[in-house]
Symmetry: C2
């Protein structure tokens, strides 16, 4: 399907949003003494205990990168490698208590930015935004 002018405009707007949200993440991650990728990784581990391959897929990067990222976060005791009882090739990545707390704080910090930016929006507008955003996620996925 060839993109129309309207598709281009929508794409530009989505790009700007992506850049804007990235800027927020960048600021937050520095406040937590983490890189953006580390912050993203920690947030992804909420209620997950993925293998290295699964985490690579979630992050959209190669699995060889995950080894180093996990090394660095494990050195700071924010997460742990644990063996998978069903397949001895597999290691699962689990947050430590400290990592759990930091991830929770990071998610709250981002929610606070949302609250401060969109807190005075009418409930219907906020609901529309949530529904449309979810729809875009589904459509892109």
């Amino acid at each position: 399907m060839e993109p129309t002018k309207d598709d281009h405009d929508l794409a530009t707007t989505l790009s700007q949003l992506h850049r804007q949200v990235g800027a927020v993440y960048s600021t937050l991650s520095r406040q937590f003494g983490l890189t953006m990728q580390q912050l993203q990784l920690l947030c992804l581990l909420e209620k997950r205990r993925p293998s290295f391959g699964e985490l690579a897929a979630l992050l959209g990067c190669d699995k060889t990168n995950v080894t180093g990222m996990v090394d660095r976060l494990e050195r700071r005791e924010l997460l742990r490698r644990t063996p998978d009882p069903e397949d001895r090739r597999v290691s699962r990545i689990v947050l430590t208590e400290e990592g759990e707390i930091l991830g929770q704080q990071a998610r709250s910090a981002f929610a606070k930015v949302v609250a401060e930016s969109l807190g005075d929006w009418p409930a219907t507008r906020r609901r529309d935004l949530g529904l449309l955003t979810q729809a875009v996620i589904d459509a892109l996925g």
Copy 2:
């Protein structure tokens, strides 16, 4: 302002969208033989000839990084440094013809993804998405 549960949910959804769009960019940039940051830089130069400081602000990174990024893209003849006639300390960054074409192709490729994903949405829904996205950008900015 303290975030409500609803703020948390909205934040989660916006995070997912950010990750999803990032995945699209990641795929596209590899198709163009560029890193994601290089692709973003090229797209930013559409109709702009920023100084190094201005480009750093647009990218949300330190100006020292820009020197290297521009070096690498200049080596590939996608952009050029040009002197600013009004201030001899300043260099302005300008796309070459080749860079212009590549940037155009990249923007079209992203627009094509949008067309393929959201092309069958009703016009009103697309307009709502555009307006709400723009509103979020303004609110966050």
